[in-house]
């Protein structure tokens, strides 16, 4: 017989809480939490700074880039100089300008494809968990199958039939195929909160299912959704760059991947123009790193046990 006055939760035997995403019941509160958590974590900060840097480049390329990226008027194959900080391509174009102009496409793909994939993940994952039964079974099976089939070869196959895939095709295909991982995670998270009290309270109040989903369930999963988005954006950046690199993007477009394509075609590395190949790669890597850092920071934020720990010499560390 337990004494009613003692509020008893199934106490964790270690004080450090096991993984729990920060819960809030109001959308605005959730956003504020997220922001606060981001600014305090060093990795997140680094990621945000990097991303902001690229965003600026993407929004104002004309003001920042010294030259017209397509103008083939300079000495081809020149090394770095005062006029061309990164040198020129084999066609006489300024590499730095190409790099800056190329930011826009990469950012757009990352955000758009990432956004589409996340939206689909939320739709499928939450619905599957909320609907349950056969609907859940079917949706989960579809999710697992898509999860397992390697996206890159599949996208290559699609792009092979439809030569020179433009921006729109890329975004749609990447978004339509990259939602499965997020859907799985969101589904399991929804399942675990489905029986919580505040949802019961909403149901008893007579709220419609859609309301419950939008305003009660989703806000608690904000951090998971954001983490999902970051992961999807990262995958979109890398996959798009890879596709363009092998020539399946639109070779006339301005992007880092196409720069790499042309560089490779002209044997940039061997012909003494290494920067042509290395610089766009650095940008892809940095943008990817920005998303990866923020994603990892989110892991740390939602699971305090993962945060950096200072080794103490006390009894705690003894076995």
């Amino acid at each position: 017989m337990t004494t009613p006055s003692l509020a008893e939760t199934a106490g964790p035997s270690t004080p450090a809480a096991k993984a729990h995403p920060p819960e809030t019941t109001a959308g605005a509160g959730a956003a504020a939490n997220v922001l606060r958590a981001l600014t305090r974590n060093r990795k997140a900060l680094a990621g945000v700074v990097l991303l902001s840097f690229f965003l600026v480049l993407a929004i104002f390329p004309g003001q920042i880039a010294p030259d017209d990226p397509t103008a083939e008027i300079y000495t081809p194959g020149a090394g770095p100089s005062a006029h061309h900080l990164l040198g020129t391509t084999a066609y006489g174009q300024d590499i730095l300008s190409q790099l800056i102009w190329g930011t826009r496409l990469s950012i757009v793909i990352a955000l758009a494809a990432g956004g589409l994939a996340t939206a689909l993940a939320v739709l499928v994952g939450v619905s599957a968990a909320y609907l349950g039964g056969i609907a859940d079974g079917i949706l989960s099976l579809i999710t697992d199958v898509i999860l397992v089939i390697p996206i890159f070869p599949l996208v290559i196959v699609i792009a092979a039939y439809r030569k020179n895939a433009g921006l729109f095709t890329l975004v749609v295909v990447l978004g339509a195929l990259g939602w499965s991982y997020g859907a799985r995670q969101l589904r399991s998270q929804t399942l675990s909160i489905r029986s919580r009290d505040f949802l019961e309270a909403a149901r008893v109040r007579g709220e419609r299912k859609l309301y419950v989903i939008l305003f009660e369930i989703l806000p608690t999963m904000t951090s998971l959704i954001v983490a999902s988005f970051l992961g999807a954006a990262l995958y979109a950046v890398l996959t798009a760059a890879g596709l363009q690199f092998i020539g399946l993007g639109d070779p006339s477009s301005q992007s880092w991947g196409t720069m790499l394509y042309w560089a490779e075609n002209n044997e940039a590395l061997g012909a003494g123009m290494p920067l042509w190949a290395i610089a766009p790669g650095v940008c892809v890597a940095l943008l990817g790193a920005a998303f990866a850092l923020m994603n990892y920071a989110f892991d740390e934020i939602s699971n305090p046990a993962l945060r950096p720990v200072r080794r103490s010499r006390g009894a705690g560390s003894r076995t």
């Binding site: 017989m1 337990t2 004494t3 009613p4 006055s5 003692l6 509020a7 008893e8 939760t9 199934a10 106490g11 035997s13 270690t14 004080p15 450090a16 305090p304 720990v309 103490s312 006390g314 009894a315 705690g316 560390s317 003894r318 076995t319």
Partner: protein, 338 residues
């Protein structure tokens, strides 16, 4: 009742703090405690009062960010806080063993019961495989589990059986002290009772001392020799169980007792204790219970009471200041059993 009532455990001024995100939170504040051999001491308190932390601190099982920041734990005269790893390891399980709250979490899910018992045996004694097997069967029989379950995995046993298997494992070397952290919380009421009876019976049969942590006072009322009530990291009352139940001194203890009804008595209105425990990152200046205490006075909010000795019972409350002899908390006391 006891042939030789020697003191096997002495805790003096033990303090434990959690150091995370810069602000240290003192979860266990200057706790003293003694235990004689064969004695059953229950530690009672609500969630977050520090009782489990105290338990793990005594057993030297804290993990970062928790650490012992002061005091000593003398087990048979040796201060465990300052022992080296290998010295500690020689004490573990042979003389001091642990039973945890949920066997589902405390037993390794990928190993059979037999393998886990064998691990303990191999770590401390030079036993042959046959001897280990025999001893494992023996302890399982002690807790009324058919030894055929030796080769089962934890998830294949029922909740009650798992819990008893954990207790059996704790008794492999017939230690002098068994520390139990809410071992019955994960069970239903009927199983709880039967497990308690079994623990008590084993204790009397094998002669080990027990420190039993629980949030449920009524559970231990018939089994413990002494009872310690904790609140907000401090000891607020400590004495013979019967005395606490018949004449609870501290207002908190009284509140606890009044909160559950007697099955025989008249129907009374249930009284809870209003409010909630203090934030240990910023403990109140005076008595920690005063914000919730129905008998609080002005001075309670300002000055923290020391632990006072009232006729064999220790209580941390200013109400008893005149009636007591002020006991410096570092003075040793003989633990008494009824």
């Amino acid at each position: 009742m006891n042939a030789a009532s020697e003191r096997i455990l002495e805790v003096r001024g033990l303090s434990v703090a959690y150091n995370s995100d810069g602000v240290p939170v003192v979860a266990v504040d200057d706790v003293d405690l003694e235990l004689s051999s064969r004695e059953f001491l229950a530690i009672v308190g609500e969630s977050g009062c520090g009782k489990s932390t105290l338990l793990f601190a005594i057993a030297q099982l804290l993990s970062p960010p928790a650490e012992i920041v002061g005091g000593e734990v003398l087990f048979r005269g040796r201060n465990m806080v300052s022992l080296s790893r290998s010295e500690l390891r020689s004490i573990r399980w042979r003389e001091l063993s642990v039973v945890m709250q949920s066997a589902m979490n405390a037993l390794n899910p990928v190993m059979t019961v037999a393998t886990q018992m064998r691990d303990a045996c191999k770590a401390h004694a030079d036993m042959s495989d046959a001897e280990i097997e025999a001893r494992s069967r023996e302890v399982l029989r002690l807790v009324s589990i058919d030894p055929v379950h030796l080769h089962s995995y934890p998830h294949q046993l029922s909740g009650g059986m798992r819990q008893r298997a954990m207790i059996a494992m704790a008794l492999l070397f017939t230690p002098d002290l068994v520390i139990m952290d809410e071992p019955t919380s994960a069970l239903d009421v009927v199983a709880q009772r039967s497990l308690m009876v079994q623990i008590k019976q084993l204790q009397e049969q094998l002669g080990f001392a027990v420190i039993f942590v629980t949030h449920d006072m009524s559970l231990v009322s018939h089994f413990s020799d002494r009872l310690m009530v904790m609140y907000a990291g401090q000891v607020v009352e400590l004495g013979a169980t019967r005395n606490l139940f018949e004449r609870p001194l501290h207002p908190y203890t009284r509140g606890l007792l009044e909160a559950f009804p007697s099955i025989h008595g008249p129907r009374v209105h249930l009284l809870g204790i209003a409010g909630s425990p203090p934030d240990l990152a910023r403990p109140p200046a005076g008595c920690r219970f005063s914000p919730r205490c129905p008998e609080a006075e002005e001075r309670c909010l300002a000055s923290p009471p020391a632990l006072l000795d009232t006729d064999g019972c220790l209580v941390r409350c200013l109400l008893y200041e005149q009636a007591s002899a002020r006991t410096p908390t570092t003075e040793a006391r003989a633990g008494g059993a009824p």
